[in-house]
């Protein structure tokens, strides 16, 4: 049989242009055969080929056992191939790993340095806690190996061991420290140790303070810039613990800043001074001012003088760290930073964007937002489909294709600059990011930076036009859309927020919403291509409905709402439109000052006919919310239509004829009433429980029998039900459409349930909810049973708390007497956030800019405390998820295990605590288990061997 070498494989790959897939599959098949042979050379070659193909995404996990076989070969060449294959292909769930343990131990103890290197390099990739425990004893002596190369690799390998098995550091750290303290140690080893210490340092900085003198000497004397960088990074974590270090560090650091020719070192010095809190520590002294000036000056220099994009980028990173503590230092550099917002390089723009969000204040907001808006408007909207060649993210694997032109690959790596120099179009996620940042900047601290809300509304409308299109969201994800960030919805929410909170511009906000809703203006208002920004319609639709009386053009709005294209909208938006529909209608139809002339009658009938025409097909819409609303309002409209046609018109120019009350009173009453105000999260929880609220007494002692009775109820009564539901309440409407009926509407238990009935909620969620509903239906002439006070005679009609308030309020909805709305700014305690923005917006300094912005409403005094606590309460479940394994970032190496282990050998007695003992016992037990498993697998392997041997002999 002809066997391919790796070289043949690669050649073949390059010669099979167009049919690489078949070629690779064929090759893998061959490898499967070759790897089973007894010839170690053949096995090893096959392994090498597989490792090569693994790079392109071809699974080789099935060969893990063969990897171990080749690893045990006495030849270095074989070993090297096998170790590389192990590093590249072993995963967390690779089971044969424990079998490798003995081989690793053997190779670590090999007399040949190159052989020792193999396990040292491989262990970080494959280690697990039980193995770590076992190879530790073999690794430790390697710290004093005669070859520096072995010593430095051992140090790092021990560090990776410690990550999965923190106990490693108990025996290893003293030895590593010894190496570090040794002046005669090879500089490479010292540098490697410093790198490791730098990784360990930020986890447990206190343990490394005793080393500070030695580290300081290394920083000053070594002359190794690589190491100096790491040392400075390490010191930045130590200085917060030991302020005296700052005084000592400052002279050498400033000396480096002034003298070094290495830009990386210069930058890290500045970065270290910033991160180590040195600027804060020396603040106020002349020395401190000098240092700050030096750092900021150098950073500015990196941005302007050098003209090097990399320096610009890292300078922005450094500024980003300063801005939180020394905003004034950064704001002095505003000019150069703002330039970066328009940098052709996206990476730099992103950094600048992050930075300006923290720099923003009421003076520069307009300018910064203006720059960003210009950017969004001028760049064409790029979509992923523009560049299909680059959209390979979903591909399962990369197929190595034959290079068309070998000369390309022969090109020397010694660089020569690429020629193409055109700026990339704005990528979508950057666009989204910019829009989010603009909204974030503007809405910060309840709009404290905004002085001109008309401007803000214009910005919002403009943002809609530059929104990138969103991917089609499946219905399941639709609810998450807010989280995943459809920017259109975010913009809409801002518009809604402004309309509600800032009464003085409500008319303008509604006007903006109106222009967004209008169908014939959609081309102007939204991006030309894609579905970008359509999410804003959810909120615009709500606004035109809720504030229909602000509309300047209700008729076109109505036309747009019931436009055939509305049927194409996502069901969530459509549902909102449906809710807006009767609101707009009522604003158009409710005028009771003008006479019911024939002309008006015809107009109204026509309008209602159109609405009905729109609603009818929706009553079978697959979206339940849409369907429900469509059915409800369809009936309402039909009734109104009946009422309109049944009301005689007055002759023109004669006496006043009343329009139908259903139009002028009943329908408006459905939607008017309480003004909607922003409520702080957690405010509901602060609503005091009414003293007479008794949740323990059974509402109806005979509930069980009622339920049983309900079960027995037949269809007949149900049909009765339906009939009654259609007739009775409606009849009462047409006859006495007074404000009381509207108030009664408010009684509907599902309007305000949670605020009062928190405790009752679990009752509400009762599993036999269906049965109870039947019972409710039976009791339909009484009110909802939850609200019935058992003392009250049922016959007189129960009164809900809200209803009572409304009635007592002399037929007027007196919002102030509703407990949840009993809120006042004055009651607010001293809260930094709240007071801050209030004082800022109301400061006499700029009286012209004063805009009343409604804050979140809440109960009780301490808004800050309540806010934070409630936010915490709502957020904490997520936070708990944070450090969860599942949420761990890709590629992340978790070093949290080190946090618990003290390296401080001052308490060197190191008594074994009970925990330690237990842990050790557990480890030993695990070891025993593992060993047993190894034995078992070995037996199995032998068996397989024997079996294979027999088969071969046959």
């Amino acid at each position: 049989m002809f066997e391919k070498s790796l070289y043949d494989l690669i050649r073949g790959l390059r010669n099979h242009k167009g049919s690489e897939k078949e070629y690779i599959n064929e090759s893998i098949k061959e490898c499967r055969k070759e790897i089973r042979s007894n010839d170690m050379d053949l096995k090893s070659t096959a392994l090498m080929k597989l490792t090569y193909l693994e790079m392109f995404g071809h699974d080789m996990s099935w060969a893990s056992f063969n990897v171990l076989e080749v690893m045990s070969s006495p030849k270095y060449r074989h070993k090297r191939t096998a170790y590389l294959a192990a590093v590249q292909s072993f995963r967390r769930d690779t089971e044969v790993l424990m079998l490798a343990e003995n081989q690793l131990k053997k190779d670590i103890s090999s007399p040949t340095p190159t052989v020792i290197s193999l396990p040292l390099v491989a262990i970080p990739h494959v280690i697990n806690p039980s193995m770590a425990n076992s190879v530790l004893s073999d690794l430790l002596p390697r710290l004093t190996h005669s070859h520096a190369a072995i010593r430095k690799k051992t140090v790092v390998t021990l560090y990776r061991l410690a990550l999965v098995y923190p106990e490693t550091l108990r025996p290893a750290w003293p030895k590593i420290k010894e190496r570090l303290q040794d002046d005669n140690e090879d500089p490479s080893v010292t540098a490697a140790i410093v790198n490791v210490v730098c990784e360990l340092g930020w986890r447990r900085p206190q343990d490394f303070l005793p080393l500070a003198p030695r580290l300081f000497d290394l920083l000053v004397d070594s002359g190794n810039n690589w190491m100096a960088i790491k040392l400075i990074k390490l010191f930045a974590t130590l200085t917060p613990l030991e302020p005296r270090l700052i005084k000592k560090l400052l002279p050498p650091l400033t000396k480096i800043i002034r003298e070094t020719s290495a830009m990386s070192l210069l930058y890290e010095c500045i970065s270290g001074i910033i991160q180590g809190g040195i600027l804060e520590a020396v603040e106020g002294t002349t020395e401190g001012e000098e240092v700050a000036k030096l750092c900021v000056g150098k950073l500015r220099g990196m941005m302007v003088i050098e003209g090097d994009a990399n320096l610009k980028y890292v300078a922005l990173l450094a500024f980003d760290k300063i801005v939180k503590f020394h905003p004034y230092l950064v704001s002095q550099q505003q000019d150069v930073i703002l330039e970066c917002i328009d940098d052709p390089d996206i990476s730099i723009r992103m950094r600048a964007l992050d930075l300006v969000v923290d720099m923003v204040n009421s003076d520069n907001l307009t300018a910064i937002v203006g720059r960003l808006m210009r950017q969004l408007r001028n760049a064409p909207i790029a979509s992923a489909t523009d560049d299909p060649t680059h959209d390979r993210g979903r591909m399962a694997g990369v197929v190595p294709y034959a290079e068309s032109d070998d000369s390309d690959a022969e090109e020397s790596l010694r660089p020569h600059e690429q020629k193409s120099d055109q700026p990339p179009p704005l990528p979508e996620d950057y666009r989204v990011n910019v829009i989010r940042r603009v909204l974030e900047m503007c809405s910060r601290d309840t709009y404290s930076n905004i002085t001109d809300f008309d401007w803000y509304i214009d910005v919002l409308v403009q943002l809609v036009r530059v929104s990138p299109s969103t991917k089609a969201i499946s219905t399941a994800e639709e609810e998450d859309a807010e989280e995943t960030g459809d920017v259109g919805r975010r913009i809409g929410r801002e518009l809604q927020n402004v309309a509600i909170r800032v009464k003085s511009v409500r008319a303008e906000a509604v006007d903006a919403a109106q222009s967004l809703v209008l169908v014939d203006r959609r081309d102007q208002m939204f991006p030309a291509s894609g579905n970008g920004g359509l999410g804003v319609l959810d909120y615009a639709g709500w606004l035109v409905g809720e504030y229909a009386n602000y509309l300047t053009k209700p008729e076109p709005v109505m036309t747009s709402l019931i436009h055939p294209t509305s049927l194409q909208l996502p069901s969530r938006t459509l549902a909102i439109y449906l809710q807006a529909l009767p609101k707009v209608f009522s604003s158009m139809a409710s005028n009771d000052q003008t006479s019911w002339t024939p002309e008006r009658k015809i107009l109204m009938s026509l309008l209602m006919a159109r609405i009905i025409h729109f609603l009818e097909p929706l009553s079978t819409h697959p979206g339940l919310e849409v369907q429900e609303r469509a059915v409800e309002y369809l009936e309402l409209m039909r009734l109104a239509q009946e009422a309109a046609s049944g009301t005689a018109t007055g002759a023109e120019h004669e006496e006043f004829t009343d329009p139908p009350l259903l139009l002028t009173q009943a329908i408006p009453a459905l939607f008017s009433g309480a003004e909607l105000n922003p409520v702080a999260p957690g405010a509901q929880r602060k609503v005091p429980v009414p003293e007479d609220l008794d949740l323990d007494t059974p509402i109806n002692p005979n509930l069980q029998s009622l339920l049983a009775q309900a079960e027995l109820e037949g269809f007949e009564t149900d049909e009765d039900d339906v009939y009654a539901a259609y007739t009775e309440p409606i009849a009462s409407y047409t006859e006495t459409p007074t404000a009381i009926s509207a108030a009664d509407r408010l009684d509907a238990p599902h309007k305000e349930p949670t605020s009062y009935q928190n405790a009752a909620e679990d009752e509400y969620l009762d599993p036999d909810i269906i049965a109870r509903r039947k019972a409710e239906r039976k009791e339909r002439y009484k009110d909802d049973p939850f609200y019935i006070d058992p003392e009250v005679d049922r016959g007189s009609g129960a009164v809900t708390p809200l209803g009572k308030i409304v009635r007592e309020g002399n037929m007027e909805v007196d919002i102030d007497s509703i407990p949840i709305m009993d809120l006042s700014f004055e009651k607010r305690g001293p809260s930094p956030a709240g007071d801050d923005h209030l004082s800022r917006t109301r400061s006499p300094r700029r009286p012209t800019r004063r805009v009343e912005i409604m804050g979140d409403e809440t109960l009780g005094g301490d808004i800050a405390a309540s806010n934070s606590s409630s936010r915490e309460a709502t957020v904490s479940p997520r936070l708990n998820h944070g450090p969860n394994k599942a949420k761990k970032s890709l590629l992340e190496v978790d070093s949290s295990g080190l946090g618990a282990l003290s390296l401080d050998d001052e308490d060197g007695s190191r008594k074994l605590t009970r925990l330690d003992v237990e842990r050790r016992e557990a480890e030993e037990a695990e070891m025993r288990r593992a060993l047993a498993e190894v034995e078992r697998l070995r037996g199995w392997r032998l068996g397989v061997r024997r079996w294979l041997g027999r088969r071969r002999r046959r």
Partner: protein
């Protein structure tokens, strides 16, 4: 620490993949193509730092790589040499400018081993490529930055195979290295 070192060519073909965390093969491939998409669109005048690819950005939630010291990869550094991109993904404990130098040393070491190295050398000698990297980075921690010592370490493992003769080799004459030349931020 360093989380991954990747090398791929101008067409996105991987030439070296080294992940210092165990990662599913399919995820590796996705990450490679995401980074390639990011890097391929960049003009040459752009800086050598990439925004986080979606796979990494999602998990860390924020795109700011400035959260001081944590285990999450926050920095993607790259350099482009002729037909190849060299990528390093790292956490914030690494210095961005020093990483650029590190890539430079890596390429210089390869150049020293292969004499006027080109992509073909790396294709046919991918074991040597791995060996060179292993001399510089072990388990995500830099162990050597000194050019001679890296080359010495690789050579100690056996002779470095030469490019197959019939693969040919265009005569390339390039003087020195590009941007790192002149030691603007030479960390050595």
């Amino acid at each position: 620490m360093i989380n991954a070192v990747l090398v791929f060519n101008n067409a996105g073909q991987p030439r070296l993949t080294k992940f210092y965390t165990q990662l599913e093969t399919s995820v590796q491939q996705r990450l490679i193509s995401e980074i390639f998409t990011l890097v391929a669109n960049r003009p040459n005048s752009a800086c050598n730092f990439l925004p986080l690819p979606p796979l990494l950005a999602n998990s860390s939630k924020s795109s700011t790589p400035t959260t001081p010291h944590n285990d999450t990869p926050s920095l993607v550094t790259y350099r482009h040499y002729a037909t190849l991109y060299f990528i390093v993904i790292s956490t914030s404990t690494e210095s961005p400018l020093a990483l650029l130098d590190l890539i430079q040393v890596f390429v210089q070491a390869l150049d020293g081993l292969f004499e006027n190295v080109c992509e073909l050398d790396l294709i046919f000698n991918f074991e040597t490529l791995h060996a060179t990297l292993a001399e510089m980075i072990v388990g995500g921690v830099v162990v050597e930055t000194h050019l001679d010592k890296v080359i010495e370490g690789v050579k100690a493992q056996g002779t470095v195979a030469k490019r197959p003769v019939n693969e040919g080799k265009g005569g390339m004459g390039f003087a020195g290295f590009g941007r790192g030349d002149g030691g603007v931020w030479a960390g050595r």
